[in-house]
Symmetry: C5
Subunit: 328 residues, 5 copies
């Protein structure tokens, strides 16, 4: 679906144009065309491929989707793939899974084609912000690429934050004595999966974006190098955060197992201690329950009291010992 198609000259918007008129505008020297598509049908992509002379392999990637994030040069043009990672909401509740969309951007000297797939969150705000800053937009298509990249990357931050918040809530649960270790561990496992999804969005993009500043930079991005470095910096920070989260989850899984083992050990000790106390009690009672004829104490007046006293005393002594040993 074509969302919009606009021509810009010297950083200012010229007009909303038709796809057929594109070739008129791209011929002008300081002019570039910015086309936005969403879940396009093959014909739409084919039309644009012809208009802008996009490379066959790049178009194939864009129409197949499910690419890993990357920044590829085809001659003087760039093909950029980014992931959109969005928490799934069903009936106002966040589900424990991510929806992974994709933005593919074709950038040439005088055009930008952005193709959004499998995601509902558009980039109209990016276009508006760009149009409000014509002095930056004058940098041309490279700056538009930066603006799109920056918008995508900025959307990762809240996702990473929410992972960190979830992780903290699990940590509390782990160290809480009445916790539910089964749920904690399941939650940790799911969290690790989601951290991996984010990792696969961030790490390859970081690698790709690194080619857009410093050293040998594609012509189109040369004027916006410092902006791309800013994006790389954000991605580096995110990457470190995700690594921290993954590392912490691994530790938390170990720690959770330790807490369970400790907890189980305590309960086992307590129950076993009580069982021992009653076993002693039963053993004593069993002895005086024997049917021997010659058991003088059975006939004593206070034999029964003595027996009860002995039993209660022994049990009490054991209780005191176990208490002291910290088992009860």
């Amino acid at each position: 679906m074509l969302i919009n198609c606009v021509a810009y000259e010297d950083g200012a918007k010229l007009a909303d144009i038709e796809v057929e008129d594109i070739s008129d505008y791209v011929a002008r020297p300081n002019c570039f065309v910015w086309v936005a598509l969403s879940d396009p049908v093959p014909e739409e992509l084919a039309a644009l491929q012809e208009e802008f002379g996009l490379h066959e392999l790049a178009v194939e990637d864009a129409s197949h989707g499910h690419q890993r994030p990357k920044v590829e040069e085809y001659g003087n043009s760039l093909f950029v793939v980014m992931h959109l990672v969005e928490p799934v909401m069903t009936r106002g509740k966040v589900e424990e899974d991510f929806n992974v969309g994709e933005v593919d951007v074709f950038v040439g000297r005088n055009y930008v084609v952005s193709v959004r797939s499998r995601s509902k969150a558009g980039f109209l705000g990016v276009r508006e912000r760009c149009e409000r800053e014509p002095e930056l937009l004058r940098n041309g298509s490279g700056f538009v690429l930066y603006a799109l990249m920056d918008a995508v990357v900025d959307r990762y931050f809240p996702v990473i934050d929410s992972l960190e918040v979830e992780l903290e809530s699990i940590e509390k649960q782990i160290f809480d004595q009445g916790g539910a270790p089964r749920e904690s561990i399941k939650h940790l496992y799911e969290l690790k999966q989601r951290a991996m999804v984010l990792k696969h969005a961030v790490a390859p993009l970081l690698e790709g974006a690194g080619k857009l500043h410093g050293g040998r930079v594609p012509q189109i991005c040369a004027g916006s190098q410092e902006y791309f470095r800013d994006v790389v910096d954000h991605l580096t920070r995110m990457n470190a955060s995700i690594e921290s989260i993954r590392d912490t989850i691994s530790t938390a899984i170990h720690v959770n197992l330790s807490m369970v083992t400790i907890s189980d050990g305590e309960v086992t000790k307590r129950l076993a201690a009580w069982a021992s106390i009653f076993a002693v009690c039963t053993a004593f009672a069993g002895i005086w329950g024997m049917n021997f004829e010659a058991m003088p104490e059975l006939k004593w007046r206070y034999g029964y009291l003595m027996a009860l006293g002995l039993i209660v005393g022994t049990c009490g002594f054991l209780y005191w010992r176990f208490r002291k040993a910290g088992w009860l």
Copy 2:
């Protein structure tokens, strides 16, 4: 076994030719010969070695088989080894093991020799596709190498997908309370082995294929660089997926152990709690089973009821306490 031997000129098929006639065709300027072999006998390889002047070490590798995937330059020619990883099917059921075949490709300016070993899945489709696109096949032997590589790599995708599906089914089993931890862990272990087989197919090929685009590229592949980058891109994605799978398996093994420990702990607690309740019951009964003469309560009219009441009451109290503590 020779499968076929065809000469191409300017991207179009000239003729099926005999091995003896090869030298006539390779002498022509824009002509190349594409020979396909399957599990060849040494004589067949020797004949081709002479026709094309293949390097002794490369031919030795191809006839021994069981090489690791690699891309080697011998002067102006290339020798490429790729693994074919195929699930084994016996009577319509997928077995938990892979059949690892091998494709060795010799590529020179005017010839391609592909040698398939220990695998039944041929590459006729690749040849047909190439012949349908003469404008691409005009790129010469380098493009044929790409086409073969692409076909091999594309066959890894369903294998990786099936590993991911299996992994998910084990995950369900792990978090399912009535699960079979013994089977889960065995399955995880086997899965890890298979992921390693895939890893050994993908990672070295990724490394080797990286030499075919960007930087200093062998002459033969120069015209198809962007295609090889596409292959590298696929391999990079696969490599990341395999790493994810391996990492997830490791976590799953830990998590499985944790779940078992938690589950065992719960059962132990429950059984021990019940045992405690009955031990108390037995202890009380034992006391009134003693044979002391002077046990006044034995003669009370409602002594028995009182005793039963006390026993049931105590057990009930314990039951309530254990329930509250979450052990029952």
Copy 3:
């Protein structure tokens, strides 16, 4: 909040100046201005941005805060972000958390702007020390950057030391038989989190600072290269220490679990051994408590004594066996 704003010439302090007068001083050849801010309002930053021509993206980073440590070149000027890691004290007691502040430094040929955020510990001492050594301060703004960096880095040492001390105290607790494994493991987990905070302060700064000595060095720092190498050396040492701490914590978590398992095993064995002894006792008593008519030993004169002897003997034998096996 502006803390101070001083002009220096040839390494000596000229005068405390007003922000408006800055442009007069930066014009002089051997003169530079050093401005210190603390948690500035946007207007203050904007004013300095204009005075010194600071780059928009750097100013944005400084006003947003929460950057990762970095050393960035903007043309001939540098933008440096460093973390301040301070233990939180409440009522004289160290809390188990860090306060992470930030120092952002803009350095140009003839100015230094240091912006401190979210931290109470100032850098007046650094300025004083610099003013006492005019022969070093003559090196210009690069040397001021070194002095600030050195001060920040030196503050990490006691923090790392305190982590090491805490770790040692936990180690003692782990190997102490009457230890509290639950607390140990919680403490280890918290320690790992804090080590990670430090890591995120040290590692990226090490990476960034590495660009300030050896190889291609920014013009401003060229004269102070050996000083920056010294800072890098300190950071490298810290980084190694933090890695050691993290590694040791991981080992300690494993070891703690092992100690708990060993401890639990010992207690379980002891309790189970006692339970066995009493179970044997009960079983014997049960047998002579049966009501068969024809049980000759019940009528023996010393039957009871014999029974008691047998019971005590068997229990004694078991006690001796268990003792020998190390279970009691």
Copy 4:
């Protein structure tokens, strides 16, 4: 001990010569001398050091032995250290340890000195093979180095294979319910040690041999580059195999622990379930064993049968429940 000392010219054997005559032969242009020693005494090494002008440090290394594998250049000559890893056999049975021998090779333009230590397996076969292929031996001393290296490396393959076979047999034992976990884990541990010995033989040699092909290659090896690449390729494959083995062993240790925990849990559950059933039985019996006078059911005609029925019924019910829960 001097094994043999032969002069070669243009790839063909000239004569077995005496150590004293060496200098006559090395002076000829296309001639080189190949000396083989085994566990030499210092005098033998000293004599050769003088004849060929070997570097003092290299000779020291060779006489001390116990070097790590390496490839070192001394001016125009090479000094290569390789490990020989051999399973120890005592009375026809393979012991669980490796004998680590050493081959040190000095290579100059016109000489090769190979020194074998602490190993009984000689390299006569290598010499014979070389002499059968004069067209390759014409490449000079570099080719002899390749031939020796290839022979050493080829001997690693069966060792690695045997490790893999052993690992598989342990795997079977782990997943076998009647397995011996204690032996499995001990075996795994020993296997890991041996894998480490192999690793220390292969990895440094791989690193060193990498310098002998591609990029800047020592003069002596220039003509045999592709052969050395072949050796590197074998070493890379071995290195990957060893890494796989190590990784698999780590996983297997974890999995073994899991299997033990699962097994123990099952047995504990079963025993505890039976104990519960009998505890219930005992508790009931205890109640009717009390000596209260007013226990009407004791006088019922079918009281006993009723009691037995109740006891058996309850136990049967418990048995059914436990069975359903999978504990029995």
Copy 5:
């Protein structure tokens, strides 16, 4: 404390000289001065700093001590820090801790200053050995640096060996059934700490020493390159050994836990099996201890024998079953 101060010319000792006369000797072309200090007071360092023009930062490092091992260039001079790792002996017994001393070496074209701190083991032997080999000492101050480095590095070998011996003794203890897991694990933990101390001595020195051979080498060391490569080679070997030790310790900790779990499981099974046997025994006895009037078997002549027979038979059957299952 000044240990000695000697001038050398052309590799031969000239004279023991006074600190004040140093400047006379360093002026001569082929002459250099070698000063050795031990735990110097600041004045001694200051005097030498003036005599040789040592860099301020290097002197600061040397007087502070506790640096990480490093090799730093200050213009044409070198500053080298090395650790001395010595087992602590108290009353003839090796303690489980290391004493970490330090040697700081300043090397210029015509001087060597070695500063030993916190260690009693001197380097007189190094000086003597150097003086015995004037043809090597002629290489100048660089060779002295090599000799010192070699001496320091050679002292690591016995320390690493002792770690390996200790590790082997723990291994034996782990696999010994009557072992003391608590002590093993504590010992392993301490061993890992000590391995880390060694690692911190070896790894950074390896990194630093790598700059002294191959590639761009400091002028002073140019003539002794091959000697420094030898040192690097030793350090590489040590580094690999330490890594092996660390890896083995980690595995050993896991294996120890596994052995404990297996051992505990066996004991638990055995005790639980015995408890089950006696519980069965008690249950039977309980039934015939009930006080029902109508229990015909109680009146049978051989009822008691039958009961005993049944009890013993059942217990025997259980014993046989448990034995077969390997629990007893």
